[in-house]
């Protein structure tokens, strides 16, 4: 599998955060994500989208992230609740 470009990784992390697979960044501190955390988030996203669970930003995963979709997050965690309250 070819390595995803830095831009793809950056866009993917943004996508995973926006749709609830990764926790939102803390406003007061830089966020450091472990490779395990990112892999788990990708796996959950892949399962949700019905893709093969590789934990990698493969072509199918990147293509799915570029599909037109609803703006709401897929995983309603703390981020979803905070948004609703606001």
């Amino acid at each position: 599998t070819p390595e995803p470009s830095a831009q793809d990784v950056s866009l993917s992390v943004d996508w995973l955060t926006r749709y609830g697979y990764l926790p939102p960044p803390h406003p007061a501190q830089a966020q450091l994500q472990s490779p395990e955390q990112l892999r788990d988030a990708i796996k959950i996203m892949q399962r949700f989208a019905g893709l093969k669970e590789t934990g990698l930003m493969d072509e199918a995963t990147l293509a799915t992230m570029k599909k037109p979709r609803c703006s709401l997050p897929d995983v309603l965690g703390v981020a979803g609740l905070v948004r609703r309250r606001r």
């Binding site: 749709y19 788990d40 796996k43 959950i44 399962r47 949700f48 989208a49 019905g50 669970e53 799915t64 599909k67 037109p68 979709r69 609803c70 703006s71 709401l72 997050p73 897929d74 309603l76 979803g80 948004r83 609703r84 606001r86």
Partner: protein, 427 residues
Amino acid sequence: YALTGSFWKKKQLFWRVRSFPQGSALSQDIVRNLMHYALTAWGTEVGMTFQEAEPRVGTEPEILIDFARAYHKDSYPFDGPGGTLAHAFFPGDHPISGDTHFDDEEVWTFGESDSGGTDLFAVAVHEFGHALGLAHSSAPNSIMRPFYQGPAGDPSKYRLPPDDREGIQQLYGKGPNSPHPEPTRKPLVPPPQPPGQPPDSPSAPVPDRCSGNFDAIANIRGEVFFFKGPWFWRLQPSGQLVSPRPAKLHRFWEGLPEHVVTVDAAYSRPSDGRILLFSGRQFWVFQDRQLEAGSPKLLTELGLPPGEVVDAVFSWPQNGKTYLIRGEQYWRFDEAVHSVDPGYPKNLNLWEGAPSAPDDVTIGNKGDTYFFKGTEYWRFAPGSVVAEPGSPHPMGPDWLDCPPSAPGPPAPRPSKSPRNCQCEINQ
């Protein structure tokens, strides 16, 4: 399906299109018609009605529909053609609750192939699912999948996929005119007694239901079953025990091997109504009271590590997933893909206030989650993972028609133990 935890408490909602798409080939009347049909698709399944509100008359409708561009004063700015298409706000008391926004920069179409644009009806059905309280679903054929899946066909003939029907009916119940009535299930009835063996034979010693410490507790089609050794009690939805005397496990669950004398956990699988009884490292699957071919199965088939047994199993209506508890850990099993979700097991203390290694966990008929252990129970409100204040409560008086164990002098004991008493025919 997945529920957001919020829903409307009324069965009639009002809606209005506040702003129409600019420069779209769709006329305002077509847009209004598509919205009507998209709402009706949900309403017919649950007996809700949606009425279009006149502009500037009376109160604001619950569902205000807008076609907006870019930043439009909420947390979800649109991004031009492609990308995000629409969003809606979950039910609630806030003025924006229920409101639904479509990206005006999409090419909205109706009844055309994918290449012509984005089918407004399909997107509207999805968004109104949010406006009524559903979150995104991972089920393959669900309209609540987050990704656009192409045109949804003729709006006047459209019917929701099963996953979405199940989800919305969890929130609002089944409508009287639901076009998909479930087949009538055979009621669970006790088996006929073998001749010459009266059901309440006084000679057979039975366990005391008021002492708690059940092996398993499960809600099966509205009735709560309490298992203890080779016996069980049934509590009807009205709160009445079918009998204060327990029934024998093997006379009811036909095909359960005689060597299985305790049930560690039990639950009713919502997807197909099958009843699963767990004992040791195996589980048995029943349709009604009959054992299904292929049983027993191993817990490892549910994705649990080899050697594990379970204390409790339940299906959470909030997301339709199955939770398997062992000691202080739990796994979340996805029936749709038939495996444990990544990231599990997790610590049971994520269920705040829950006891470790519960005897069992079950869902009440109003959607509450109940953890049972010993002689106590913990109640969690629907969708909540925090035990209600005051938990635990004594289960005997609330569930099993037992007297409260008040402090003070011990209750007078009968002169003879039940085992030795002689019963008249009417006693």
